[in-house]
Symmetry: C2
Subunit: 296 residues, 2 copies
């Protein structure tokens, strides 16, 4: 299986499911539904849904029935991006080369678009739960997703990130807190949701949780590394000049070589934990290879 092709095929499947499950764009009031579509279909890689589906496959199950849950995860991710991009938060005008939601629809609608996607994610999960209520795990999945999205997860990470901004903090614990919460928690919930709904045993669940945590760590560090390399290419400044920068990142805190070593180790550990799983683990292995190759 080829990585790029695999990711594209899966993104098409998730996109198709999203198009089917999202409220129609012209539904009244059209502005909010148009704004929801704008951000959901703004070119995301669909990494969280793909991880969720791949977790089920790693346990020998079909990914198909999990598509609604995968869509809900993508909506929660998209809501968090819309709110994080607001001028009162990170104040970003562009994301993936497109204007951010508030630049197109205004800040009031952008707040409501985020709210709507978060709410709609739970509506979808509730519908899925009603349909699959024989699965005891659905309630746990719902709780884990809510916890990962809440102040013990994504929101907690964003709060600490907001507070640390521009304060020149060089605190390793804080860096780990922000990343495990702001991005790590939803990766973890995505894989655990797939695993739990596929009927994972306690040991299988532990393996996929470890994979998720290592994946999240490697994702964050490669993100930092790409930022650094991107800056270097763009600004022509030498690698490492960011160490005195205000931004708290792995390479600025630990140095480039050490940060790269962390990525390699995390990927190795994640790959090792897949060996105990009974199903098709190739997709999850491919996703590990995606991490250091993310430039494409």
């Amino acid at each position: 299986m080829e990585l790029k092709q695999y990711l594209q095929e899966r993104a098409v499947i998730v996109d198709q499911a999203l198009r089917e499950i999202m409220p129609a764009q012209d539904l009244y009031p059209p502005k909010i539904h148009e704004a929801m579509h704008y951000s959901v279909f703004a070119g995301g890689k669909r990494l969280r849904p793909i991880l969720c589906l791949a977790a089920a496959e790693a346990l020998g199950r079909d990914y198909q029935p999990l598509l609604p849950v995968a869509c809900a995860l993508e909506m929660i991710h998209t809501y968090s991006l819309i709110h994080d991009d607001l001028p009162v938060m990170d104040d970003d005008d562009y994301r993936r080369g497109k204007l951010t939601n508030h630049k197109v629809f205004g800040e009031g609608i952008a707040v409501l678009t985020g709210d709507a996607l978060l709410t709609y994610a739970f509506e979808i999960l509730a519908r899925y739960g009603e349909k699959h209520q024989e699965k005891k795990a659905v309630w746990q999945v719902l709780q884990e997703i809510a916890t990962a999205a809440g102040t013990a997860g994504m929101i907690g990470g964003q709060v600490v990130d907001l507070e640390s901004e521009g304060r020149n903090l060089v605190d390793k614990e804080l860096l780990v807190y922000i990343h495990t919460h702001k991005t790590g928690a939803l990766f973890r919930a995505s894989l655990r949701a797939g695993a739990l709904l596929a009927g994972a045993s306690a040991e299988e669940l532990a393996c996929l949780t470890l994979y998720a945590e290592k994946f999240g760590l490697a994702f964050q560090i490669t993100d930092d590394l790409l930022d650094l390399v991107g800056n270097q290419k763009k600004l022509g400044k030498p690698v490492g000049s960011d160490t005195k920068n205000k931004k708290l990142t792995y390479p600025t805190l630990y140095g480039l070589a050490e940060a790269k070593r962390f990525v390699r180790e995390a990927i190795e550990e994640a790959a090792r934990s897949l060996t105990k799983l009974p199903g098709k683990t190739e997709p999850l292995e491919l996703l590990l290879r995606y991490l250091p190759e993310r430039e494409f």
Copy 2:
């Protein structure tokens, strides 16, 4: 039973449940939990939780087991107020005589506080659902609450309200849309949640739904009337001078006498629908009397 005493007693019960169920104020990161507490305990009347509990009593059931659901409804209501008060929405500095969340904690934290309360509401509902999974209705309740909070409910109402603002719209259908969605939908979901979880029959559910819809209508019109009377007292302008005002309200659209008649009729219809219920309907009757007496 005396109205004022009843409302106070119930508010104390709901407050106590909220204190038990909310994440501790000093939980890390403290700022977001402090901000959540600030708005949840800012002096709300707890009308939606009280209606939810009273629906169960009207069917002869104990309200106690419903307290977590009642708390979730109050959190959703509080989240909507925090986001509606933001400068990019209705831009209010005060609510119930206290500074609004963003005036105290900043706009970024206020957005996140709303997000956190919405998310936490679903976490509580998921925990409740797991504990009471023998009840088939819990999934329906979860869906109805999500729908009422989403673009087919509260968010839809707020979007249309935002869009109509300052546009001098005098459109009766629009007025009804805004109010049935912005405030009506959550009243309806609150009563139906109580009814469904108390095991209502189809006929009982229909009675309580009718009650909810009439309650919501009367609530909105009395709100408009109080606004008008309040303005009259405060600004010394004659009643009816608001008819040429931009604000879309029942008294400005229909006149004072007609608006008052709507309230009386709605209350009568709501009261009538209670006569078919087998339990203690006195609380729901008291709540109807609350509507025209809301000044205290």
